[in-house]
């Protein structure tokens, strides 16, 4: 298989390593060192995509990150599909499989192009805002057609087989871009002993030096690049990152670098290698040496395959040994444009002409072209291209000195390639990411970085500095400045001598005039990927879209995956002209991360799947797993939800677990409850200020339940705190609220009451909490302790330090089930031991493990609330019927007191928590059901509350529920209705939420 456009020699490819790749189902050859784009061009493939609106055939335009057209689907298998890969940035590897993304039946013969041609005239910018409105009902149909036509590549449908890394990095100086400026800067800072990261998006360092034949110190520039790279590699504190795109520049010099570790090797990453790595870098100083992108000119049919930017033509010839055509016409406003003609000519192919918009261009490259006998047409421009799937010729005409109109007759030239140069646009994207507004510079005809608060330096092309000698010097100077800024002494660096090419002044011109007005001329593309034309921009301006942001948004200019790298400045220029303003008056748009797109996988790194969020387990977790527990996620904890036995459904398990507790003894792993150790002489005072109830008189050895409210008086957490010593308390919190409560305590202590001597520490993980509950719990405890645990010696709401199963334990006699209960707290590393001992001793009592769901039922039978389930941030203690837990006698106005006395909080008819008893005792109301007084009322039906907790109570033999009812505490015995989604209505009676043992006798035995 031949590569018709491949040169016999030259370039940085390795002809001894041929590679095979697939494009659109056919196999082709390329070489090691090719990009997919250079290989496609070498094989003489012209059409690589279809434009998204008009389905026009498109070819490769550029050679790097700015490429708008060559956006391909990659992937040899379903799971390894990657959409929208820019062929100019994808290194070729053996077996690479690629495909054009649009076009039916294929990209070469696309029937949509007929619609594009016929209907294109009806599709000016914003056409969709003006139509598809009638009839209203058809919009869904229109939309589905629009959606199918849009998009480019496709998502894989199988899970990614590869993994990704995130790495944190710190350095003195991060240098972005390893062209001449970046290398000179890197050499300077590295020699001076700084910690350096040098990142470049390409596979090898050198930047534009790799694309030219220019010399440094009389040697090929690559020799200097190699020497510098070698020296840099020798420093321990220098990290070199090729294939690494600095994709985002964030506040305070935080920078992200997307490194493609294996994308150049194979379809799927080699075993145990991350496919990509995202470096999260905090740099003391950043040097942006990002270079510049060449701007194409805007002329009619400038999107026909074969139209390329001039520098890209040189790159393909010099770097890849590929001449992407046979007969070249150059159309340029400046001297650089001539370079592609020189390179083309030297590669042995025909240069038809260089067409220069300047009347009297003078410069060394022009002279070099003349010496080669290349025809130069001055004061003229290519105003139109002929051809559809490949350039077949061009129309050249003389234009006025201001570049605004065609002044002479049209000459047609035969050609298959048009190289265009309208000058260069500095790559200022990264400096814009941090909110810095770019500044227009008339001299270089481009935007340069504006003022910034970042510790940022710039060098080379980004400043509009393009001569290699000057670029190197800027790099050196930026390096020296960075060295000084990080407080090091600068080492000496001698720069190589660059060729001094004399250049003439460029002409400021973006949009080439046509014989016809822009609106009638053949399409002149500004943004290829989004099919935005000069006529479209003019129309947008005519329709009143005058801000450049409006122009962008109305036309979609710059919204492609290239973010308008080629087109934005041209678009601004066209808009400025249409609005009779200057480019800076028209304004620029702000670039956002990413510089070029990066995989979601790389951003997520390893933080998905099992590592998405840490899992927290209690010390007894493995026992629960072995026992076949079902688990519930509570915060990060995995809590046993219930423990099914063979043949049981969930309700049967719950019934069994509940009855075991009510009749004998059950055990709950309550280790997940938040535990905060509070010490200090003012600990008691502090508790009194933070809880709604009184703490002044709680004796050592006693426990008390407390409600915690916000300053608005709304309950946000609750729990039991124990007085361990006069100046020592242990607070428990809800499982999910532990961290928030600790921060809440610290907030008040540190900011409001620093004079209080009190200290907080989280001890949640230090303790295992084994709650045995039920009439036989004392007997069970007695089996494992010699301590006196009789009611006389160890009464309700006491705690004791005793030995349980040979282990020191804090045992709390509190109850969330209403039964006699002991909460045994032991050091977490003893948890499993004690748990197992309890089961050993508990067999005779049928000790039954129960989970959170049973715990919820048992507490609901007693009318105990669960903060977060029976509260929602909008209820205060009185709404909960828990006025008993509020002390207004305390001298200090505790947190929440003032809040719960605001006008709206003391009004009548607030929603209040009550018990709900269904008329049919077998019916369990679904939690979340809404209460109404009149189920026949029309929609919107007035609602008076909702059900927060609802269960089947096996012990009571009927359903129980708690919920809010407006004014519920005064409506005992009244009827409410719960209309459900299926049309049924549940009738229920408002009652006390305490369904079992209202006097609390069971827990007091």
């Amino acid at each position: 298989m031949t590569q018709p456009n491949r040169l016999q020699s030259g370039g940085r490819i390795d002809r001894s390593k041929p590679l095979t790749f697939t494009y659109n189902g056919k196999q082709y050859k390329g070489y090691q060192g090719d990009t997919l784009a250079s290989a496609i061009l070498a094989n003489g493939i012209d059409v690589v995509s279809r434009s998204f609106k008009y389905s026009r055939p498109r070819g490769i335009v550029a050679a790097g990150a700015e490429e708008p057209n060559a956006i391909l689907q990659l992937g040899a298998s379903e799971a390894t599909q990657v959409p929208n890969v820019r062929a100019t940035q994808q290194e070729l590897f053996n077996g690479l499989v690629s495909q054009a993304t649009n076009g039916w039946p294929n990209v070469d013969t696309d029937v949509m192009s007929i619609i594009g041609k016929v209907g294109g005239k009806m599709m000016p910018p914003g056409f969709y805002y003006k139509t598809f409105m009638f009839p209203e009902s058809l919009w869904n149909t229109y939309e589905s057609l629009i959606r199918k036509a849009a998009g480019m590549g496709r998502s894989p449908l199988e899970n990614d087989p590869d993994f990704y890394d995130n790495v944190n990095q710190h350095c003195d100086v991060l240098i972005v871009g390893a062209g001449p400026a970046g290398l000179a800067a890197a050499l300077t800072v590295a020699r001076s002993g700084a910690r350096v990261i040098l990142a470049d998006e390409q596979n090898e360092f050198g930047g534009n030096l790799l694309s030219t034949k220019e010399t440094l110190d009389g040697q090929p520039a690559s020799a200097w690049v190699n020497a510098v790279t070698k020296e840099l590699r020798s420093y321990d504190d220098v990290m070199l990152l090729p294939r690494s795109t600095v994709n985002g520049y964030h506040d305070h010099n935080f920078v992200t670098i997307h490194e493609r570790c294996t994308d150049h090797l194979s379809d799927i990453a080699p075993v145990n290698q991350a496919r990509q790595r995202l470096h999260r870098v905090r740099a003391k100083w950043v040097v942006l040496a990002t270079g510049a992108h060449e701007r194409p000119l805007v002329y009619s049919n400038n999107d026909v395959p074969g139209c390329m930017v001039s520098g890209a033509v040189s790159t393909y010839i010099n770097r890849y040994g590929v001449v992407p055509g046979n007969a070249l016409v150059v159309t340029t406003t400046n001297d650089y444009g001539y370079q592609s003609a020189l390179d083309w000519h030297d590669a042995g192919r025909k240069v038809v002409a260089v067409v220069d918009t300047r009347a009297n261009p003078v410069g060394e490259r022009i002279e070099a072209a003349r010496q080669r006998g290349i025809k130069i047409i001055t004061g003229s421009a290519v105003i139109e291209v002929q051809g559809s799937k490949r350039v077949s010729g061009v129309s050249v005409a003389t234009i006025s000195a201001d570049g605004n109109k065609v002044t002479g007759s049209v000459t047609k030239l035969g050609a298959d390639t048009v190289a265009t140069s309208g000058g260069w646009s500095p790559v200022i994207h990264l400096s814009s990411h941090t909110g810095s507004r770019p500044i227009w510079n008339d001299e270089i005809v481009g935007f340069v970085p504006g003022k910034t608060v970042q510790k940022q330096l710039t060098a080379g092309g980004i400043n509009g500095c393009y001569h290699t000698g000057a670029v190197l010097l800027e790099g050196l100077n930026a390096g020296l400045e960075a060295v000084a800024n990080v407080g090091l002494n600068a080492a000496e660096v001698v720069l190589p001598t660059a060729e001094d090419v004399k250049e003439g002044a460029p002409m400021t011109l973006f949009h080439i005039p046509h014989l016809k007005p822009t609106s009638q001329a053949p399409k002149q593309f500004v943004d290829y990927q989004t099919d935005v034309t000069a006529a479209g921009i003019e129309l947008a301006c005519r329709e009143g879209f005058e801000s450049i942001e409006h122009v962008k948004r109305y036309t979609a200019m710059g919204f492609g995956t290239d973010q308008g790298k080629l087109g934005n400045i041209n678009g601004m220029a066209v808009a400025a002209k249409a609005l009779n303003k200057t480019i800076p008056e028209t304004g620029t748009t702000i670039f956002r991360p990413n510089y070029t797109p990066i995989s979601f996988g790389a951003i997520a790194g390893r933080n998905c799947g099992a590592l998405f969020d840490p899992k927290r387990y209690s010390a007894m977790h493995m026992w629960h797993v072995e026992r076949g527990a079902k688990f519930e996620d509570v915060g990060q904890w995995k809590r046993p939800w219930y423990f099914p036995q063979a043949g049981e459904n969930m309700q049967q398990s719950l019934d069994r677990e509940c009855l075991a507790v009510r009749q004998s003894v059950g055990i709950l792993d309550a280790s997940t409850l938040g535990k905060i150790d509070i010490q200090g002489k003012d600990a008691r005072e502090f508790l009194g200020r933070i809880y709604s109830n009184a703490w002044a008189k709680l004796a050592v050895g006693k426990c008390r339940y407390g409600l915690m409210c916000g300053e608005d008086g709304m309950v946000f957490d609750d729990g039991v705190s124990a007085c361990l010593g006069e100046n020592h308390f242990l607070m428990t919190t809800t499982t999910g609220g532990a961290a928030r409560v600790l921060e809440w305590l610290e907030l008040y202590h540190q900011t409001e009451w620093p004079e209080l001597e009190v200290y907080f520490n989280t001890v949640t993980d230090h303790w295992s909490t084994l709650t045995i509950s039920g009439p036989n719990s004392r007997k069970l405890l007695s089996e494992l302790t010699d301590a006196d645990v009789t009611n006389e010696n160890f009464s309700f709401m006491d705690w004791k330090q005793i030995t349980v199963a040979g282990v020191p334990a804090r045992v709390f006699r509190i109850s969330f089930t209403g039964e006699l209960t002991f909460e045994i707290n032991v050091q977490a590393n003893y948890g499993m031991h004690v748990w197992k001992q309890l089961f050993k001793a508990g067999a005779q009592y049928n000790l039954t493990p129960y989970g959170t769901e049973t715990m919820h039922i048992l507490r609901a039978e007693k009318g105990f609330i669960i903060a977060g389930q029976d509260t929602d941030g909008s209820v205060h203690p009185f709404d909960l019927g828990m006025g008993w837990c509020v002390s207004n006698q305390k001298p200090f106005s505790y947190v929440g007191k003032r809040g719960m006395n605001r006008q709206d909080c003391i009004r009548e008819n607030r929603k209040q928590l009550v018990g709900i008893k269904t008329k049919d005792p077998k019916v369990v109301i679904p939690e979340g059901a809404q209460a109404v007084l009149d189920p026949k009322a029309p929609i919107p039906m007035p609602m008076v509350g909702h059900v927060t907790s609802s269960y089947w109570s096996a012990h009571l033999g009927h359903s129980i529920a708690m919920g809010f009812i407006k004014g519920g505490l005064t409506k005992m015995g009244e009827t409410v209705y719960y209309p459900l989604a299926d049309g049924t209505v549940i009738e229920a009676e408002i009652c006390s939420p305490i369904f079992l043992d209202p006097k609390g006798e069971r827990q007091n035995v």
């Binding site: 964030h250 506040d251 305070h252 010099n253 935080f254 905090r282 909110g435 608060v453 300053e711 608005d712 600790l742 921060e743 610290e746 907030l747 540190q750 900011t751 409001e752 620093p754 106005s893 007191k897 003032r898 809040g899 605001r902 006008q903």
Partner: protein, 94 residues
């Protein structure tokens, strides 16, 4: 992502270790019960929320757990100074 100097740890740490709690220097009224609903509401909810120099309470949540204040420009996110609770800022809005 901010780079924040914790005045208690005396080190720069990543923003991920911290979070902002809101406007700094909002003292809890000495006698809440004497406050009108309006005064109490303003204490709880009403904020300066300035565009420009802002004094903001932060906590080194995944570090030393200490609260402290940051003076920061809310437009360009430049941190002007950090200072401990009880101290006064030296950079203030004009």
């Amino acid at each position: 992502m901010f780079h924040i100097y914790c005045p208690h740890c005396a080190e720069y740490r990543e923003e991920e270790e911290f979070h902002a709690v809101g406007q700094a220097h909002i003292a809890r009224p000495a006698d809440p019960d004497a406050c009108s609903d309006k005064e109490w509401g303003e204490y709880m909810f009403f904020r300066k929320n300035p565009r420009g120099i802002h004094h903001e309470l932060w906590v080194h949540a995944a570090g030393c757990r200490k609260f402290f204040n940051i003076t920061r420009d809310t437009q360009n996110y430049d941190i002007k100074e950090v200072y401990k609770i009880g101290e006064k800022p030296s950079v203030v809005a004009e």
